[in-house]
Amino acid sequence: MKKKVVLMGASGSGKTSMRSLIFSNNPASLTARLGATIDVEQNHVRFLGDLILNLWDCGGQDTFMETYLAQQQSTIFQHVAVMIYVFEVESRNMSKDLAYYRGCLAALRKNSPEAAVFLLVHKIDLVRGDRAAVLERKTHELQQESADVEVTVFGTSIYDESLYKAWSRIVHTLIPNAAVLSKHLTVLAQACSATEVILFERTTFLVIATSTPPPASPTAITSPPTMSPSFSTPSSTHTSSNFTSTTYSRSIPHTSVQQDSDPHKLSPTRYERTSELIKAFKHACSRVREEFHSLEMELDDFTAVLDELTKNTYVLIVVHDPTIETAALRMNVRLARKKFEELQGDSLIS
């Protein structure tokens, strides 16, 4: 199954940089060497075996933008599953950016009315001072520009975990069986007496699915499978999309419930931080010609195993019960392998 993802935004806004970070395991420091993208750079990224992301990195210089909107409109905007539009947080020419954005949005509505739209307020690291406030203002501005189109806004930077959070959410919308995966991860978590089980895609280390919190929590059934309510932070909650605004209104009252019933109070940014950390460490390994295989940790108050689950995924099992040993966790991963290979094969073909 192929899904077309177009990456749009002004020249220099950071599209190619984020693509190379997420999909090519390059460090942020190397992005300064990237040249401007000429016309469109197409990539096929195999994601979870049968899902192929067809990534269109569209060079953002004016001449290219004009042709995308005119002669090439149908080529670019047809059959799009997701459009990601990148805005520099401190753009030199926001009114021009917005004019192109409106053009692209209109073309997208016409050619791919079902496409999801994600807006990234990028290079957020450059903001000195109150980032949340800046992001809120930007989000508001972008929602106004989007009129009745549902959009999801994220603040991102290649220098921290925010990029992984945004991209995890984006690819999540493209995975057809995410809910099923989540259900099975919950089963695995119970088998391991785990606090949490998280599934990562192998090359990008984006979060694909997580187990739902233990049944003690009344929100477990209704909350969206991968994103526990505590996962939402201002950047994801301020959106005008129906989809996210419903999860927003649903998750708000639950947040307090969730935290009360969650004895561990884990860091709310742990998923994207884990992606970022492991990705950086994988890169460090490759620099010294080593490979990343698996990890076992028995730390002060938790035990964790990070291991390959299927050909395309890694699983992280986190256990706070001190009686559980890593060997048992590894055994459970081995036992779960076949089931997940099947699961992945099955539902992605359909």
């Binding site: 884990l266 860091s267 884990t274 390994c285 010294v288 990343f292 002060d300 108050d301």
Partner: protein, 352 residues
């Protein structure tokens, strides 16, 4: 050696002095090593306007003095601590500054330090090495070394015998950690004992390389006798970096000690207003991790004291077959290190 016990009964700290022109990177070096500052965040460091003392506790307690770039010999001598009280003086030079004045100034400090106390370790960090391509980097490095040594001899042939160490450093790679580790080793009197323990551990566990790392700074305080191969050192350092951040993410109580995953439960920060080396001797929780980089090898991590961890590379086959033996060797190693730390602590007048 110098100033081991102070009259006030305080901990006698090993003093390190950082000197160098303005904006050569002295404060960045300290912040990156000891204050959890990312290399990129050093862009926003404000300029140092007066001598600032930083304390840091690892296997030995350190007091590192950061100076403003324009400090003079007179101003330095006017402070109540004579140069001879510093175990080490580190001169930080920007690799692109090939001008005469900084060199002349450095030389005059070197001579003053040497005249007062020939045992002082003199280190020159030719810093910001990342700013130049390989070829220019080596050229400038040689040029600076040659100039400094020539100038010393020009002043007096007696200065030919001054021992100085040069290192190329950068906060953007592992060179700074490696250079600072080597500098630190010269002030650790118990180093030979730590090295013996590491050698014994390696021999008994068939480990090809083992480091005793300071957790937070990621400096290694000792290693076994086999040569340090940079990729192995870098891998261990990056592994620690990852673990240091990973721990708090899934820890149930990250708030009490956000930066160090391994300390949080038993030592709430409120109860320990002043950190001292006694932490090295107190029992640390058993904490260990395993990482399998390439098929045939395992990187083990074992917490030794609250501040130190043993990182060792062991063939996976050996590790699988003799896990129990390795763990036993770790217990033996841990006891040895704790004993050394206790002795060190007592000699320093710290609360034992």
């Amino acid at each position: 050696t110098n100033g081991r016990r102070t009259s006030s009964g305080d901990l006698a700290r090993t003093k390190i002095l950082l000197l160098g022109q303005r904006r050569t990177g002295k404060t960045s070096i300290l912040d990156v090593l000891f204050n959890d500052c990312g290399p990129k965040d050093t862009l926003y460091i404000e300029r140092t306007t007066r001598v600032t003392k930083h304390t840091y506790d690892t296997v030995i307690p350190l007091e590192i003095w950061d100076c403003p770039g324009d400090i003079t010999l007179e101003a330095l001598e006017a402070l109540d601590t004579p140069l001879s009280h510093f175990a080490t003086i580190i001169f930080v030079m920007d690799i692109q500054d090939l001008y005469q004045p900084p060199i002349t100034k450095l030389v005059s400090f070197v001579i003053a330090a040497y005249d007062q106390s020939p045992q002082t370790n003199l280190e020159v960090f030719v810093h910001k090495a990342d700013a130049l391509s390989e070829e220019y980097r080596i050229d400038n490095y040689r040029f600076l070394q040659q100039h400094i040594l020539d100038e010393l001899i020009d002043i007096s042939s007696e200065y030919e015998q001054i021992q100085m160490n040069f290192a190329l450093t950068s906060i953007h790679d592992h060179s700074l950690h490696d250079a600072f580790s080597r500098t630190l080793h010269k002030s650790i009197e118990s180093l030979p004992y730590l090295e013996d323990l590491l050698n014994i551990f390696c021999y008994n566990s068939q480990s090809s390389k083992a480091f005793l790392f300071d957790l937070k700074s990621r400096l290694y305080v000792a290693t076994d006798a086999s040569p340090v191969d940079p990729p192995t050192h870098n891998l261990c350092s990056d592994y620690l970096l990852m673990l240091n951040s990973f721990g708090p993410l899934y820890s149930s109580h990250p708030a009490s000690a956000p930066r160090s995953p391994f300390l949080s439960s038993t030592r709430p920060s409120a109860l320990a207003p002043t950190i001292n080396t006694a932490d090295n001797t107190r029992q640390a929780p058993i904490t260990k991790t395993l990482f399998y980089p390439s098929a045939g090898m395992t990187l083990t991590y074992q917490l030794i004291t609250r501040k130190l961890a043993l990182l060792a590379i062991i063939p996976s086959a050996v590790f699988e077959a003799r896990r129990g033996l390795v763990e036993y060797n770790v217990v033996f190693f841990r006891e040895g290190v704790q004993e050394i730390c206790e002795v060190e602590d007592e000699a320093r007048g710290g609360g034992g």
